[in-house]
């Protein structure tokens, strides 16, 4: 090694370097320096070193089949050689024979040695037959299936294969993950869910089904055929993809009627008309029940989903605590429509919470999503108010579907903070977050129509934690009974200074 460093210093990249690096690498193929030197030397050397080099790397991979350096070198050598996928395939197959989960070999196979998709599927099937606890093989399989929804025949075959696996060993997560991936193959593209125009603060708000980045030109908005200049900004004020975007309306728009037209990425246009005497107007798409819990699901045939759900139920009867099964069933029920299966869904999630204590938080968030979804689907909900008291919510998802709610009842949950997404709720007047675990309102964007906020019983201790409320123009009533702040002697004075126009109830 010292000789090598010496030679590198002198710039002597000759056959001896190849020889020396060969000796080092054969013993330990993870010395990156040697690979680099070897590459430089080989490039200068000339001659047909490709076959010998391939054999050498093959040997090194025998020493350490997961050596990054060696795999990288192999790729590099192959760039100097005529492609021979069959030989590469045989090589990968040999390594996978030794370790069917060698991710390097899978990656290499994908990159250099892909046979036809069918042949590759057969290959993965063969390895899965040996041992199906093989994320890599399932993954490779998933990659081979063309994008988008599968033809029904293929889907059926795949589902049968994966069901065989989950029934054989429901504890094995690889098959469950594949099953879910198989179903979730067609996330619908983001689209506009609702629009809200408000003359009072001169803002046009748009809610999207998924977080997007509105770049100039992607969201066209015009007022009586005259394009709005923008700019669009995210409602939560953070420079990242968001579901809510705001755009200022031109000042002096005091003469309704006015017709706003908004279209996302040349999609269908939606209209909002401001009538005389009104200060706000909105449009909202009816709620799509199937998208609320598992929007990614790409299988459109409900029969397939019901069949799978039935299989999961059978399995649960035998294995009531299989977490893969519980999660899959919950998602399936969500995709089939949360309303029809509300109770089963809740039961399922409760079991999952018990069966999988290590992922308690994840399951709680999923349960929150389910509760919000069920509330959104309740007759008459959505526009007016969302009643979510005492639902053990740990997060507040799906706000984009409730963009027009005026009243949000969240008392008695387990929320630790108010999500920035609340900034998209432009019509929100009453927000009840009593008896939660909110410590601070930092990061809460201004809520233009918020009049009443109840924070009773939250662990808020400093008046400064409430600072964002100063930006809520209409806020008139604030309840802080039972908070540590309310017990502090100087609280009233501080709050009066911070929120001079707000009636604060401290007890």
């Amino acid at each position: 090694m010292a000789t090598l460093i010496d030679k590198r210093g002198r710039g002597e990249l000759d056959a001896e370097v190849v020889e020396l690096t060969g000796a080092v690498l054969a013993a330990n193929p993870d010395v990156g320096t040697c690979w680099n030197l070897r590459r430089r030397a080989l490039e200068l050397l000339g001659g047909d070193w490709v076959p010998g080099e391939l054999a050498f790397v093959g040997g090194c991979l025998g020493v350490n089949p997961k050596s990054y350096g060696a795999w990288h070198h192999r790729r590099w050598v192959l760039r100097h050689a005529p492609p021979d996928p069959a030989a590469q395939r045989a090589f990968c197959a040999r390594l996978l024979e030794a370790d069917p989960r060698n991710f390097h070999a899978w990656e290499h196979r994908r990159a250099e040695a892909g046979a036809g998709a069918e042949a590759e599927l057969a290959f993965t099937a063969q390895l899965l037959a040996r041992d199906f606890s093989n994320f890599s093989a399932w993954h490779h399989r998933g990659r081979l299936l063309a994008e988008g929804p599968l033809p029904p025949e293929r889907l059926r075959e795949e589902l049968e294969l994966v069901q065989n696996a989950v029934f054989t060993d429901p504890q094995d997560q690889s098959a469950w993950v594949y099953l879910r991936c198989l179903l979730a193959r067609a996330t619908p593209p983001p689209r506009l869910l609702s629009l809200h125009a408000d003359l009072e603060d001169g803002t046009l708000a748009a809610a999207f089904s998924r977080p997007v980045v509105v770049s100039p030109g992607s969201l066209e908005a015009s007022l009586d055929d005259c394009p709005l200049p923008g700019p669009w900004r995210p409602a939560d004020g953070r420079p990242r993809p968001s579901c809510f975007w705001l755009c200022p309306l031109p000042p002096g728009l005091a003469t309704p009627p006015a017709r706003l037209r908004v279209a996302w990425q040349r999609g269908p246009a939606h209209f909002v008309t401001l009538r005389p005497g009104e200060t706000e107007a909105w449009w909202q798409e009816p709620i799509e029940a199937r998208e609320l819990i598992w929007p990614e699901v790409g299988v459109s045939d409900p029969a397939v989903l019901s069949e799978l759900a039935q299989a999961c139920r059978e399995l649960l009867e035998l294995e009531p605590r299989s977490r893969g099964c519980l999660l899959t069933l919950a998602l399936l029920l969500g995709a089939l429509g949360p309303r029809a299966h509300g109770e089963e869904l809740r039961r399922c999630l409760r079991c999952l919470q018990e069966a999988d204590p290590l992922r308690r938080g994840f399951v709680a968030d999923l349960a929150s999503r389910a509760e919000v979804a069920l509330e959104l689907l309740r007759e008459g909900a959505g526009l007016g108010e969302l009643r979510l008291q005492g639902k053990a919510l740990t997060s507040l998802p799906l706000l984009e579907r409730a963009a027009l709610a005026a009243r949000l009842e969240l008392a008695g949950n387990e929320l630790g903070a108010l999500p920035p997404g609340l900034g998209g709720l432009r019509r929100l007047q009453v927000l009840d977050v009593s008896r939660n675990r909110v410590r601070s309102l930092r990061g809460l964007p201004p809520l233009p129509r918020l009049e009443e906020l109840r924070l009773d019983g939250n662990p808020i201790s400093h008046a400064s934690d409430l600072a964002p409320l100063a930006a809520c123009p209409r806020l008139a009533r604030l309840r802080l009974a039972g908070t540590p702040l309310a017990a502090a002697p100087e609280a009233a004075a501080q709050l009066d200074k911070l929120l001079p126009h707000v009636a604060v109830t401290l007890a």
Binding site: R130, F132, N164, F167, T168, P170, E314, L318
Partner: protein
């Protein structure tokens, strides 16, 4: 030759079955001077494997019930006054009711010679010493079979004359037996004979599956037919011992590829590993789960006593019925996985058996069993080889007349062999079959029923022809023993291409044929000509080309005290037992070894040959000693001869 044997050893082992061979290896390994003799001309005793012609000779030998009247009493003069004598058996009586059947064209085989066959060995008891001296090669054909296999394609001309006569003799013998067989009539064989004579080679070329008896005889050396049919549990004692002692390097193994069940008249594959269950097409999803759930429970059933506590007093079969398992799953678990009796296996025993099966899964493959290539008979030979490497001396076809017992101490002092040589030793290991009737008069032996078939197809055809299968056929009447069927393909090196070797084993209730023929009829097609009439359904079954039935004495599990007047330093090894695994033999060998040498380790790993430093002088003297009596030792391979006699070698490593 007799003069060449030293007159004194530490341990004399009589019989080369598995337990004796293990003990011999263990003793030699711990530095004892071992003499290992067998009165037969092959290794293994009832554990041996034979080529086809070898088996025919064995059949003939065991059908002749003539007593050898070799009443030479010369050795009497070697007995001192204060000594008495325990005579040993001269004729093996452990095999009974041997019945061989050939289905079809055996007449055509009359003039066929076994390719590469060695000359028939002189019958034991004849001028054995000269025969050995003339041709040391043939003394131990099984051990040398590697060499023989290599050259098996080329017939040895010198040998073939003898072989032909052997086959002819055997044919007449087999014919006699066939008179009792309902399936073969002379006209039929004549018909087949015509076919075979017309163009035997063409027939085989067109329909490779159609195997003639003549081909079996010609390819006889491709067969390695086990007298006992066993498999190695991949976590059984024998595997552990083979690995620990490094004897495993002398043998090669093949994983049994599938477990089969016989249910409602059909042979099915039993899914037993996780991969099997996943791949199975016969189980429904729910069945898959139930099976996996039960098997997982069995793996650590002791952790869940509440699950089976209530069924401790019921049978395993009753317990299975309470476990939400479908009938087919119950059948699989009871007969093919636990392999226990439906009527008298308790829940806990069943759970233990299931767990043993499951623990063996996955070590070497998807089934719990290994089969030694070239047959089970290889295993005792491997241990003999180990013994020889550590200086053990081997004499086949060397019978022992008697044990010499000191009247005063009651201890055995020596043996007297058939040459009348007196060989003294401290310990004596004798296989049960060598003990005379007077010693065994109070012993009650069980019997094992065995059948060996050569068939033309597998009992369950799949894509791959090369399957090693184990099938348990449950008894028709409750309480009868189940029959264990092991089917070997040609890649196990136990039968010729396009044939299968099928072993059937069960504890005897009647003669082997009475015990096993019903099962054979269920699984196989016996009558070659009937297929024209019965057509379809019968055609599915494999045809039996050749079959032999015999009963073998099961001398396992016999209390030492049942043998009368046995000196304390004489230990008895039993013959093969009827169980599937080899644990019994290994346990027995270890127990006996520990009784003899309580402080010595049992078969420790041998030193690495590279670490041994040879003392020039000792090496030279060893070599010369070797050349003096080459015929008394098995031919060592070059590698072994280099480490031979390492008891006399300084065993310190280089560092």
């Amino acid at each position: 030759m007799a003069d060449n044997l030293p007159a004194e050893f530490d341990v004399v082992v009589v019989g080369t079955g598995l337990p004796e061979s293990i003990i011999a290896a263990a003793c030699a390994r711990s530095g004892q001077r071992v003499l290992h003799v067998d009165s037969r001309n092959y290794y293994g005793g009832n554990w041996a494997s034979f080529s086809f012609s070898g088996l025919l000779s064995w059949i003939k030998e065991n059908q002749e019930k003539s007593e050898i009247s070799d009443e030479c009493e010369d050795w009497r003069k070697l007995i001192l006054e204060n000594e008495e004598v325990i005579s040993l058996n001269k004729k093996d009586k452990t095999i009974e009711h041997v019945e061989a059947f050939c289905f079809g064209d055996q007449d055509s085989a009359k003039d066929v010679e076994e390719a590469g066959a060695l000359p028939k060995l002189p019958v034991f008891g004849a001028s054995g010493a000269e025969g050995v001296a003339q041709d040391p090669n043939k003394e131990c054909p099984p051990l040398d079979s590697a060499v023989a296999r290599a050259e098996s394609c080329e017939a040895e001309k010198a040998a073939s004359v003898d072989t032909a006569s052997t086959v002819e003799e055997n044919d007449t013998e087999v014919n006699c037996e066939n008179e009792g067989s309902p399936s073969v009539s002379s006209s039929e064989s004549a018909l087949d004979l015509g076919k075979a004579e017309a163009a035997p080679s063409e027939v085989s070329a067109q329909e490779p599956k159609k195997i003639m008896y003549s081909q079996i005889v010609r390819e006889g050396r491709r067969f390695n037919i086990d007298l006992v049919s066993k498999l190695l549990y991949s976590r059984g004692l024998l595997i552990d011992l083979l690995i620990k002692s490094n004897v495993s390097r002398y043998a090669e193994f093949k994983n049994a590829t599938r477990i089969l069940a016989f249910r409602e008249g059909k042979v099915e594959q039993v899914p037993c590993s996780r991969a099997d269950v996943f791949n199975s097409r016969q189980l429904t999803m729910v069945e898959k789960r139930m099976l996996m759930k039960f098997l997982t429970f069995c793996l650590d059933y002791e952790q869940h006593p509440d699950e089976f506590q209530d069924y401790k007093n019921s049978t395993f079969a009753q317990f299975l019925r309470t476990r939400k398992l479908t009938p087919s799953l119950q059948h699989f678990i009871l007969h093919s996985i636990a392999m226990v009796s439906e009527t008298d296996c308790s829940t806990v025993e069943g759970l233990q058996a299931t767990r043993k099966f499951l623990q063996c899964l996955g070590r070497y493959g998807n089934t719990p069993f290994l089969f030694p290539l070239y047959g089970q008979g290889e295993i005792p030979q491997c241990f003999c080889r180990m013994c020889a490497v550590f200086g053990g001396i081997y004499c086949l076809r060397h019978s022992v007349q008697c044990l010499v017992v000191d009247k005063e101490s009651g201890r055995c002092k020596a043996i007297i062999d058939h040459f009348g040589q007196r060989i003294s030793a401290n310990y004596f290991i004798v296989e049960d079959s060598y003990l005379s009737e007077s010693v065994c008069r109070n012993v009650c032996y069980r019997q094992i029923s065995r059948a060996v078939l050569i068939t033309d197809q597998s009992v369950l055809k799949t894509d791959s022809e090369q399957q090693v299968s184990i099938l348990t056929v449950p008894p028709v009447d409750l309480g009868q023993p189940a029959v264990c069927v092991i089917e070997l393909c040609s890649s196990t090196m136990t039968c010729m291409k396009d044939t299968y070797l099928v072993h059937l084993t069960c504890p005897s209730t009647k003669t082997a044929r009475e015990d096993l023929e019903p099962v054979v009829q269920k699984l196989f097609h016996l009558n070659t000509e009937a297929e024209k009439e019965t057509e379809n359904e019968e055609l599915d079954k494999p045809r039996v080309l050749w079959a032999v039935y015999f009963n073998m004495r099961d001398s396992s599990g016999i209390d030492r005290n049942s043998y009368s007047s046995l000196p304390s330093n004489v230990y008895v090894c039993s013959g093969p037992d009827s169980a599937l695994g080899n644990d019994c033999a290994v346990k027995q060998a270890e127990t006996i070894f520990q009784e003899m040498f309580p402080t010595e380790e049992f078969c420790p790993p041998p030193p690495n040959p590279e670490d041994i430093i040879y003392d020039e002088d000792e090496l030279a003297s060893e070599e010369s000693g070797l050349s003096n009596s080459p015929e008394t030792k098995p031919e060592p391979s070059p590698e072994e001869s280099s480490s031979r006699g390492s008891t006399a070698v300084n065993e310190h490593s280089e560092e």
